[in-house]
């Protein structure tokens, strides 16, 4: 049934599907791990039970989401080989070591301390337990560091030479890691994670506030979440602007697609607010635009010239409509986050933070906004890199494994079916947990205290070393 389809397109669809699903989970757990570390620190410092209850409440959500992130992440680390073997052979010497560092410095740290964080409170004492929570939080950030270094290198590749067999050979690791787009992509993505978490936590709190549950736990988490959004949303918009300017410098074609600029504008380019890009006809239909605003944003001058897609061959164009729309979804949601942050600040100053029903309704509606914005931003940057895997150097069509379309088509269908069943169930369980109000004496992931520890050293320890 897949013979008629293009194996490369199927492989791309499979990668897009699996990475989008995967990215939802770490974008939540990066923020949530830090939030849990803050809650536990607040509990240790102030001794207030409310922080411990909130910690245990969100720890249960964390354990579910983290588990889903792990299993969907393993798929990614093998998919480079199964579906993108030529890419792996050529770019592996550069990208592979960065991912190996991610495993060595981040994944083991997270996984090693996760067990203690989830189940070890009664076994190791408060201080060591906090160390475990911190280790998990630091692990999630280190993971973001390495994987975004690898991704950014694919966007703005530097610091390598190309061997006769087409393999990328690392020349300067410092340049490879701190490539031109990395210092912008890393803070933008981490801030996105923090915003995503704050929006999700805020929405859960708003749900309970709207149902008349105004207990201390609900109030504390609503206040913390709204405070985070008030501070982070404007910073994120600034970071995004800087990231955009960096993209204009190093990947101008991507910005042309984001802006929908098929034509060059020698004396000031308009900002297209809405339109339907038509790649075939090379124009934007039903366009609503503000004259010269794009030049003002990108060049800080109304009459600054901006080149359009007409200056590059069509073979270099990314799919314009996808990039154009995903970018607008991201920016639109970003502006709504700014509004939520400002409104909640107003409510806080007016002492109405826990009473303003319409603020709570907006906070609830914005619960999924972080996830949508993260995926939209990811689509913008990844689809905007097309038709290349390593920008300007290795084409996507020349990166793919020599597989038959039926093989890739079958696996794509299998991934779709399994992901919807498994992660559908997981998201359902997460929502069930969120539907319960955090209360005094909140149980952790371990409902019953563990039994007294024996004194025999774990034999698996010596077994592990014996290997």
């Amino acid at each position: 049934m897949f013979e008629a389809l293009d194996a490369t397109l199927l492989a791309r669809l499979q990668f897009a599907f699996t990475v989008s699903f995967h990215f939802v989970f770490p974008s939540f757990t990066i923020g949530l791990a830090s939030y849990l570390a803050v809650l536990e620190a607040m509990w240790l410092v102030t001794g207030r039970e409310v922080y411990l209850n909130l910690f245990k409440y969100w720890l249960k959500v964390f354990s579910l989401v983290f588990g889903m992130g792990v299993v969907s992440g393993i798929v990614m680390s093998y998919q480079f080989g199964t579906n993108w073997s030529v890419y792996s052979q050529k770019a592996g010497p550069v990208v592979g070591p960065l991912m190996a560092y991610e495993v060595l410095t981040a994944f083991f740290l997270e996984a090693g301390f996760l067990g203690v964080m989830l189940f070890g409170m009664n076994r190791v004492g408060r201080g060591l337990h906090f160390v475990a929570t911190l280790a998990v939080a630091v692990g999630t950030l280190l993971s973001a560091f390495w994987i975004l270094a690898a991704n950014s290198w694919m966007q703005t590749p530097v610091g390598h030479t190309i061997a006769a067999n087409g393999q990328f050979v690392p020349a300067d690791w410092w340049q490879i890691i701190f490539n031109p787009s990395f210092p912008y992509r890393l803070p933008h993505t981490v801030a996105a994670s923090y915003l995503t978490t704050a929006l999700a936590v805020g929405a859960v709190a708003a749900w309970h506030l709207l149902r008349g549950q105004k207990g201390e736990g609900v109030r504390v988490m609503f206040s913390m979440a709204m405070g985070m959004i008030t501070v982070t949303a404007p910073i994120q918009i600034l970071l995004g602007d800087q990231h955009g300017l960096n993209t204009l410098e190093y990947q101008p074609v991507k910005v042309m697609a984001m802006e929908g600029h098929f034509e060059s504008h020698p004396d000031g380019a308009p900002l297209i607010l809405f339109g339907l890009p038509d790649q075939e006809a090379a124009k934007v239909r039903a366009e609503i635009a503000v004259p010269k605003l794009s030049s003002l944003i990108l060049k800080h001058a109304l009459d600054a010239p901006l080149k359009g897609l007409d200056t590059v061959p069509r073979s270099e164009w990314p799919p314009v409509a996808i990039v154009f729309w995903s970018f607008r979804i991201m920016v639109g949601l970003g502006l709504l986050m700014l509004l939520l942050g400002a409104w909640s600040l107003l409510a806080r100053l007016w002492r109405g933070l826990y009473d303003w029903k319409w603020l709570h309704r907006l906070a609830l509606a914005m619960g999924p906004a972080g996830f949508v914005a993260v995926i939209a931003g990811w689509v913008t940057t990844e689809v905007g890199r097309q038709p290349y895997t390593v920008y300007g150097l290795l084409r996507t069509a020349q990166s793919v494994s020599p597989l038959d379309a039926p093989a890739v088509g079958t696996s794509l269908v299998a991934f779709i079916v399994v992901y919807f069943i498994v992660f559908g169930a997981g998201i359902f369980y997460v929502l069930k947990l969120m539907g319960q109000t955090p209360h005094e004496g909140e149980p952790g992931p371990e409902a019953v205290p563990s039994h007294a520890a024996g004194i025999t050293p774990g034999p698996a320890v010596s077994a592990g070393r014996r290997t």
Partner: protein, 335 residues
């Protein structure tokens, strides 16, 4: 054959270590899953899964290091092997999803528990089978042309690869049973004690069958094992397997807590030694050597610094995590 102690060799050892660490550590997790249908739905299953819940994620990370390390250190082998064994690899990934989420999902709703327990058992079994088939598919050889896979998507399927798959399921189940002998008491321990005897026989039979079939795959394997005077060294492997097997049945008979698991680990180590004899210095048999597949030395050096610093630290805190959850797992569990 001369042994040049160079970077690709060092990395071949590191990745072999990572794969072995994965096989034995996730081996007892997957084995516990494979045996799940044999345990009573209440306390036995809860205790069994609680004994691995705090450590399975760390165990599975070795699989990511094996895969990621292979991509980084031997990118050509990574690309060729994974696209050649596409079907079993994808099956393994999907199975590991069901296995991994079941740890948390089974506690969320008692009415759904039987479904997630089935997912846990099936996911573990299919993952083990797929890993064995992957190994068998690699051993029987992969069609390579111009440094790329040149076969179809069902080439891996053969009686031999299925034999390796089934043997690995038995081997993992043995690791699981002996792990639980060590970590549990009462009815679960007794149950595993009985299972371990049958699984020990099955695993050793599987090892013997795979060993007997391997020399028929190609002349090369036969020469490696039976040529004089090499045979003096290679013969030690089956000899040690025989000694370990006898020791295993004695350890079981005397109802020892730790020895059955440790001897099962030794059997896996000997299996790995046997694979080393068959494969070295190829990563893809008779097609791609360690040196053909190796990444440029700039990549290998950069990673070696990280591995030299991080692997001992990882082993230390992994050891700590095991130590925190040492001893027998009680009925009250972590949930």
């Amino acid at each position: 054959m001369t042994i040049a102690f160079d970077l690709p060799i060092v990395w071949a050892f590191i990745i072999t270590f990572a794969i072995f660490a994965y096989v034995v550590m996730d081996g007892f997790d997957l084995g516990t899953g494979i045996l799940f249908p044999f345990f009573d739905a209440g306390q036995e299953r809860d205790r069994a899964i609680n004994s691995i819940a705090p450590v399975w994620d760390g165990n599975e990370t070795w699989l990511v290091l094996g895969g990621g390390g292979l991509m980084a250190a031997f990118p050509a082998a990574y690309g060729i092997i994974l696209s050649a064994l596409y079907t079993p690899i994808i099956a393994m990934l999907l199975a590991l999803i069901f296995r991994g989420v079941a740890f948390e999902f089974r506690w969320r709703n008692p009415r759904h528990r039987k479904y997630w327990d089935t997912a846990f058992a099936l996911g573990s079994t299919v993952a083990a089978l797929a890993q064995g088939i992957t190994l068998g598919g690699l051993l029987q050889g992969i069609a390579v042309r111009d440094n790329a896979y040149a076969g179809g998507w069902w080439d891996w399927l053969s009686p031999f690869s299925l034999l390796v798959g089934v043997s690995l399921v038995a081997g993992y189940a043995l690791l699981g049973a002996t792990w639980l002998i060590m970590k549990s008491e009462g009815s679960l321990r007794d149950h595993c004690q009985r299972l371990a005897l049958r699984l020990g026989i099955a695993t050793i039979a599987g090892m013997a069958a795979v060993s007997a079939a391997t020399p028929f795959l190609s002349n090369d394997y036969a020469t490696r094992w039976f040529a004089w005077p090499q045979v003096l060294f290679t013969a030690q492997v089956p000899l040690l397997v025989a000694i370990a097997s006898i020791a295993f049945f004695f350890a079981l008979r005397f109802r020892h807590d730790h020895w059955p698991f440790l001897i099962a680990l030794a059997l896996f180590a000997l299996g790995l030694a046997g694979l080393g004899v068959s494969l070295y210095p190829y990563v893809v048999p008779r097609a791609v050597t360690i040196w053909d597949a190796a990444a440029p030395s700039a990549s290998l050096q950069f990673m070696l610094v990280g591995a030299a610093i991080m692997v001992p630290i990882i082993l230390a805190y992994t050891g700590y995590a095991y130590w925190v959850f040492r001893g027998k797992t009680g009925h009250e569990g972590y949930h």
